[in-house]
């Protein structure tokens, strides 16, 4: 665990030392502010539910941008050999990098806390859904980052890593969101697709409800993609 945290610390420090992190933070602030202000008018419901809903869509492209360099950067710089010869397990490397990226992602969500502050100054919001929504966003971010870690472990090209991550994330968002709305999907398949849809899983958190099946979905999904990422990284040793 110590090694994992050390890798996470190194990862998060590297992210914050990189100017691109601040550009991402600035752009994310701008994007979320635009969304928030779209639902911020006197008389509107004092909630961040709509903002959170759209932030999920924003994350489809934002999170792969954070994760694309997680492991592929090590390949590109040749530092992967150092990591692989260091006395750490591949799983620890993947977990540490994922934790570091998650830490950075959590910092990215700071503007949402500012929005909650604005709501408090102008109304009497219900903090329960605001908090559960934030938890849901972090879990969703963690899920997308795990997919990003897998994509990043699969290639040394960051662009391919980004596109691969966006593609897989889209399966859990766009595809499972829009496909059930068509007429040719059988009901049973529709139910499965709905269950696999991240937006639907996040919806309960956004309402202010933390439900066990939703937690299981996120945690098992994160564990699965991190496991596969570890296997892919490990395969470098024998390929």
């Amino acid at each position: 665990m110590k090694q994992t945290l050390a890798i996470a610390k190194r990862e998060i420090t590297a992210l914050f030392y990189s100017p691109i992190a601040y550009v991402v933070l600035g752009l994310f602030s701008l994007g979320t502010s635009l969304i928030f202000l779209g639902f911020f008018r006197p008389g509107d419901a004092a909630t961040l539910r709509d903002t959170y809903f759209w932030v999920i869509w924003l994350m489809i492209f934002l999170v792969p941008a954070i994760s694309m360099r997680l492991i592929s950067d090590e390949f590109r710089n040749g530092t992967i050999e150092l990591l692989m010869t260091a006395p750490v397990h591949d799983g620890q490397v993947v977990l540490g990098k994922w934790l570091g990226a998650l830490g950075f992602f959590a910092v990215l969500l700071l503007p949402l806390v500012v929005f909650a502050g604005v709501l408090t100054a102008t109304s009497r919001p219900d903090f329960g859904p605001i908090l559960s929504g934030l938890i849901g966003l972090i879990l969703t971010g963690g899920f997308f980052l795990a997919i990003g870690a897998l994509a990043s472990a699969s290639t040394q090209n960051q662009i391919i890593s980004f596109l691969l991550a966006v593609g897989i994330v889209s399966l859990f968002t766009f595809v499972t969101f829009f496909l059930p709305k068509t007429t040719y999907v059988p009901d049973d398949v529709r139910q499965v697709l709905n269950y696999c849809n991240v937006n639907a899983e996040f919806d309960n958190f956004n309402k202010g409800v933390i439900d066990w099946p939703n937690l299981v979905f996120y945690l098992s999904g994160i564990a699965f993609f991190l496991f596969v990422a570890t296997q892919v990284l490990q395969s470098r040793r024998w390929r």
Partner: protein, 707 residues
């Protein structure tokens, strides 16, 4: 040896790769299987554990009553919301209703919820409406066959109209028709047939288009067709046949013309037969008022009339709840000036009530007992609105009079035996009031009152529910030899009606003169029983009500509760019912009068309402835009219908069907903001936040550069 080593090493490496690859693949597939298994278990079994509801009001919990109903479900129910997106004003309400409906699916595996956005998922909506249409296909087949047959006849008429137009044209062109009446009539007929072809084609296209809709409006298509065919029959063919028959009798008309006219008349006769047969078929279809046909019309109308309907599809029937009916404004007068009144959310009550009504395996029998010959239901009846509400809940509503009732055309019909409940069927008997009279010599009631009262007394003893609607009766004050038997029943239950008087309130004009009023609106109701507890804030109206006295010590084993109370200043009970402009009588003045009460003894239940008009269509169908507009624009006194329906539910021991008190919807809103404050927030967020991030990045970059 040295030659073999690289080959052997390569083969061994390749073998090793294959083995590792297979191992990894198996591990990944196993992990995926495990993830699917864990999620399946979570989706099925973890549902029984309550979720963590972090909302301030615990908005995502269901009432114990709802949980019980959902736990008792034996069949599968499909709840489909057809909510439109895009309107920011309705968005919070749509969201609240959608969230609630999702909770039902979470609570019961018998509930399947689907959300269809008609703006984005037109195909799915069509598919769903197709499923609804298929349910009623068999029941509606006779109507559809009659309509299609009539359209074929219409098509024939159109083709023949063109032929007749040509024939008449040829007659007129041939200059054989003498100038005069016949010539004029033929010119008119020529014009009529010319118009008819295009008119019929237009009608035909329109009716076919309507018939091809997913949920066709069969009743309206049938009526339109019937009307059109009747017009063709009466106004075209009947007239032409008569005119041509007269023409052929005239000597001045040449034989060749007569021959043509007779030929056409024969064709007109054939067409008339076909048209009349079609009309008869359509009328026969209109008489087919079986339950599925009625239900189809209701479902179709409800889906079309609500912009955001919720459709509940059960094993036996389909119900529709409009989103608008799930919300109601709270007491407006409780809101401070400039503040939005509370919006009450009735979604759970509506939805649970709907499910319960669909679960009823043996719906209760409700008998409207009238003591006069005036029918309770139908075109001349006064209780169609409340009966309609009960029928929507699948209740078996009938009317009966011990003296027989007038038929639809006013003809007297002999009295039949009272309806008999099926074994085990719950029954509610409602004694309708005799209309009030101001004649002190009027002994009240009719010849059937005694007979009806005897029946109700017996039914009460058998454990049925009884509602007595009583009317002021001048004779009551004269110590009538035979007091109102219905009032006697009430008295024996500890509820004594004072039918010799009517409650009035005195108002003062600006000039100091006074005038009485017998109209009282109520928005506050006693909360002892669920019947009226659910009515908090709902407006009700009582007219010409008499006071009820509730016994301080009711008969043994009897419990009595007030249900409606008129309160206010300058109230009194007027005993001289013939007075022209009655004045406040201090002797009978009181701050409040009870006008409705309920009682329970053993398992029998009784409701007494001392007002003859409160449940009539005149009041219940009185809309916010005037008489008869309630259905389209909302009832001015919705409390009256709700009071009636809740009372019947209570009397039938279906307490779970009574809507509980509405929940206050907790929508917290952003307060008023000055323009400066708004500008500050806008620029602070749009420019300030990104700028802050960039400044932080610049700071880090500078520090690292210096370091």
């Amino acid at each position: 040896m040295s030659k073999q080593a690289p080959d052997s090493s390569a083969a061994s490496q390749s073998q090793r790769r294959a083995t590792y690859g297979l191992n990894v693949t198996v591990a990944i597939v196993a992990a995926l299987g495990l993830v699917i298994l864990v999620n399946a278990i979570a989706a099925i079994y973890l549902k029984q554990f309550s979720p963590l509801d972090l909302t301030a009001t615990g908005a995502y919990g269901l009432a114990p009553q709802t949980r019980k109903v959902l736990g008792d479900l034996k069949h599968d129910y499909r709840i489909v919301t057809i909510f439109r997106s895009g309107d920011p004003d309705t968005a919070p309400y749509i969201r609240q209703a959608g969230d609630l409906i999702d909770l039902y699916a979470r609570q019961s595996s018998h509930i399947q919820v689907e959300h269809i956005n008609p703006d984005l998922e037109a195909g799915r909506l069509e598919q769903f409406l197709g499923v609804i249409a298929d349910r009623y296909k068999t029941a509606l087949q006779p109507t559809r066959t009659a309509i299609e047959g009539s359209l074929t006849v219409l098509n024939t008429v159109s083709k023949k109209a063109a032929e007749h137009r040509d024939l008449i044209n040829a007659l007129l062109q041939g200059n054989t028709v003498p100038e005069g009446k016949l010539h004029e009539e033929l010119v008119n007929a020529l014009q009529a047939f010319g118009r008819m072809s295009s008119d019929i084609d237009k009608q035909d296209q329109d009716l076919h288009r309507r018939l091809d809709e997913t949920l066709p409006a069969y009743s309206s298509i049938r009526d339109a067709l019937e009307q059109y065919l009747t017009q063709l029959d009466d106004k075209v063919y009947a007239v032409l046949i008569r005119q041509f028959e007269q023409a052929v009798r005239q000597d001045k008309v040449p034989d060749s013309v007569k021959e043509q006219l007779l030929k056409m008349n024969a064709q007109f006769g054939d067409l008339r037969k076909q048209v009349e047969q079609s009309i008869a078929d359509l009328r026969a279809a209109a008489q087919d008022n079986t339950r599925p046909v009625r239900e189809y019309d209701d479902v179709r109308d409800s889906i079309n009339s609500s912009s955001n309907p919720v459709v509940v599809v059960g094993p036996h029937d389909v119900k529709v709840i409009g989103l608008e009916s799930m919300f109601r404004l709270g007491a407006v007068n409780k809101a401070k000036p400039g503040e939005q009144p509370n919006v009450l959310f009735l979604g759970e009550d509506k939805l649970t009530g709907t499910l319960v009504s669909m679960m009823l395996t043996q719906p209760p029998l409700v008998v409207l007992v009238s003591t006069g010959q005036q029918p309770a239901l139908g075109p001349n009846g006064q209780y169609n609105t409340v009966a309609g509400r009960l029928r929507n809940m699948n209740f078996d509503v009938r009317s009966w009079s011990p003296t027989g009732q007038m038929g639809p055309m006013g003809q007297p019909q002999p009295a039949g035996p009272p309806p008999e409940p099926q074994p085990g069927q719950k029954a509610v008997w409602i004694l309708l009031p005799t209309m009030p009279s101001r004649n002190p010599m009027d002994m009240g009631g009719g010849p059937g009152v005694q007979q009806a009262a005897e029946l109700l007394q017996k039914r009460l003893q058998d454990g049925d529910g009884v509602m007595l609607m009583l009317s002021v009766s001048p004779s009551a004050g004269f110590g009538a030899a035979a007091p109102d038997p219905a009032a006697q029943i009430a008295s024996s239950w500890g509820i004594t009606p004072q039918l010799d008087r009517v409650i009035l309130r005195q108002f003062t004009n600006p000039d100091g003169s006074t005038y009485p009023s017998n109209q009282f609106t109520l928005t506050t109701w006693p909360t002892a029983l669920p019947i009226t507890k659910a009515l908090e804030g709902i407006r009700g109206l009582f007219l010409n009500a008499s006071p009820l006295t509730l016994a301080a010590k009711p008969p043994a084993g009897t419990q009595v509760w007030p249900l409606a109370r008129i309160t206010g200043s300058d109230l009194w009970a007027q005993t001289d019912l013939s007075a022209q402009n009655p004045k406040l009588d201090p002797k009978t003045a009181a701050p409040s009068f009870t006008v409705a009460a309920a009682a329970e003894r053993d398992h029998a239940r009784l409701v007494v309402v001392a007002d003859p008009l409160w449940a009539t269509d005149t009041v219940t169908n009185y809309g916010v835009l005037g008489p008869g507009t309630a259905q389209n624009f909302g009832a001015a006194f919705p409390g009256n219908t709700e009071f009636f329906v809740n009372s019947v539910n209570w009397l039938a021991h279906l307490d779970q069907l009574i809507a509980a008190s509405a929940r206050v919807q907790d929508i917290r809103r952003i307060g008023a903001l000055s323009r400066t404050a708004q500008q500050g927030i806008y620029w602070g967020l749009l420019a300030g936040l990104p700028l802050l991030a960039l400044v932080a990045g610049l700071g880090v970059w500078l520090v690292r550069r210096q370091g």
